[in-house]
Symmetry: C2
Subunit: 388 residues, 2 copies
């Protein structure tokens, strides 16, 4: 993997990541394909919406269909029919997010499967091996992610363990077919972020991730720590802010020099009928869309907006027709990939700040109470149907 | 609408139906798009699998989003982005199949909405008006469909009322933009079928439907009555066997000179993971598919088989990924449209009987107990989530 820094505008920057499976223009948003599928979309859909790289979740794929099966099929890309680059996570975050962490010690993380309750020990070494089996192009080492806020001792331990696991991960990397990123932890403690960044950037990783954010802290705290951490990372390597992806978060993070993002938000909220527009998210089952004889977003060039009215989409959601989930997911992801293209263009001509201001002036971020509602909806579904 | 009879082979026949929205080669299978969507598929999918005409359900569309809204949008095709021909049913069958019939008398059928319990009287006149609003290309008059077996008096009444409603429907047809078909009832009583066919074919319809079959009778009885009724219908008009669509049923019915078919079976069983192959239906979550590194059906040219292994499809169903439902639906519908193409070709060269024999020799129809299981599964889902 080669990273080329191309243009800067303030701290914002554009670049390109060259992999054996294609070039990725940064800043980039990576759609999430947890279980070998970006939910409801096929590979043609992903290409059409200009997804340059997608993300797979090692924990889920390890449990089902199994990394050995995927290896036998020539890797995750071959298995799911996607021929572009793939980034895989380490599974560490799932132990945290699924609440399936049984125990963690210096050796690794022991999970309880969300499918059958069986136990699985993920060590740094195993996790590299799993991702090599998946044929990942950008691999994450096992890290220890803790929720926020948290006590200083826990945050310190997370940094210490993450560094030790990073070293062990580098030691077992068996070939140069893929890139391996280091992950910075440290919660909301700047001294710990500084310590973690120092330790991790001393190691020769191909890129650097900012982990342990978007896990319970406020938005302003998240922006502050992302900004603080980004400037501790080397200029000449890609910077990846893990798990972040609302439009406003993307702008704030690109502004401080972050290059890569992933988030389930665009597809998850799409399946709830929540769609991005330049004015903010709308709820497609709302009364005002029932007879609206134009696309959700007049300027949008996605398959959904080019072919269907808001009224039709509203009908599909009211009637709980499967097609609705796909059309909404296509729109939301295309909205985000268009946003990233526009950001890159504006950086290249030195007008990122103006573009950001203009966008955020029109875009009303989803307020905290709706966000919590949506999150609760998702948690309810998750509890019914664990791990989907 | 113009129908041209082209070739015959025994009683089997090919032809073409010319509508303002395109030509339909017969015998033809029409995918069902109950609620303005062939479940999980988009219009591009339908074109790719060579759907020449699709079916919409007046009852469902009347209730949601409403026929007036669809009329305002320029018709069902415009509303859902499908530019080919559309056949709509009259709603009569839904009163029967959804068990939502409140009462029926000579005036019409009164329904209780599956959405909110409200009452709706469907008269022959209203039903023509609704379908004109939907912009249907082939319209069905209101008929009275009764379950089988049934007593002679009920069957007689169904014939009488269906004829009277047919006359009233013809009287209110306001223009020649669409075709109107007559429907033959009469259950499994040949004398009644004869009577109904005589009465209906005396009226100047553009085509003739065989209704009241596949509603509880055995397969052999269904074949017998379809065969008996088909030869009572004029040669120069299309014959439509309503609600029939398993591979073996299609062969038997084409063999006796039927031209048009519709059925939810291919898409409904697809969503249960049941997929057509030349040897019969398979259950994709079965153990033998877990690691199968080839398509479900090696010879199939559908998007699913051209791009994905049985293993991947099996994984999607195990993981309950939405993409699985769409890929399975594409495959099953393409299997059927390919079957119809092959039947047409074999009729044209006088080899229909050979082709039928060859196909049925390899194809093991789903046995009665599995069929009943599948039906029960569907009824369970329907009772939970009525009308979907």
């Amino acid at each position: 993997m080669i990273f080329k820094l191309e243009a800067t505008d303030g701290r914002a920057r554009t670049g390109s990541i060259h992999t054996t499976k294609g070039t990725i223009d940064t800043p980039v948003f990576m759609p999430v394909g947890t279980q070998a599928s970006v939910k409801s979309l096929d590979p043609k859909d992903l290409t059409a919406l200009n997804a340059q790289i997608i993300l797979g979740n090692t924990y889920h794929l390890y449990l089902r269909p199994g990394v050995e099966l995927i290896k036998d099929f020539g890797g995750l890309g071959k298995f799911m029919g996607w021929d572009g680059p793939i980034l895989t996570d380490s599974g560490g975050f799932q132990g945290f997010s699924l609440g399936r962490l049984m125990k963690t010690d210096q050796d690794g993380i022991e999970f309880k499967s969300h499918l059958d309750g069986s136990s699985h020990l993920f060590t740094p070494e195993k996790v590299i091996d799993y991702q090599e089996s998946l044929g990942s192009d950008i691999v994450m080492p096992l890290d220890w992610c803790v929720e926020l806020p948290n006590d200083l001792d826990t945050l310190k331990m997370a940094v210490k363990r993450t560094t030790s696991w990073a070293e062990r991960s580098l030691n077992v990397k068996s070939n140069d077919q893929y890139a391996l990123f280091g992950i910075v932890q440290g919660g909301t403690e700047k001294t710990l972020r500084e310590l973690s960044a120092k330790q991790i950037t001393k190691l020769d990783f191909d890129g650097y991730s900012i982990g342990g954010l978007s896990v319970g802290e406020t938005k302003s705290k998240m922006y502050d720590i992302a900004s603080f951490t980004a400037q501790l990372l080397p200029e000449n390597k890609p910077r990846y802010l893990m798990g972040v992806g609302s439009p406003e978060d993307l702008f704030e993070s690109v502004a401080v020099g972050i290059d890569m993002f992933d988030c389930v938000l665009p597809t998850r909220v799409a399946r709830n009928g929540s769609l991005f527009t330049s004015n903010g998210r709308i709820n497609i089952v709302g009364k005002r869309f029932r007879a609206m004889n134009r696309p959700i977003e007049a300027e949008c060039d996605c398959y959904t907006c080019m072919n269907f009215t808001a009224s039709y989409l509203s009908h599909l959601f009211r009637a709980k027709e499967l097609l609705g989930y796909r059309l909404a997911s296509i729109h939301n992801l295309r909205f985000i990939t268009n946003l990233m293209t526009n950001m890159r263009n504006s950086i290249q001509i030195g007008e990122f700040k103006d573009y950001k201001k203009r966008f955020l002036n029109e875009y009303r971020p989803t307020n905290e109470s709706i966000r919590i509602d949506q999150k609760q909806k998702w948690l309810d579904i998750k509890n019914e149907n664990f791990g989907k």
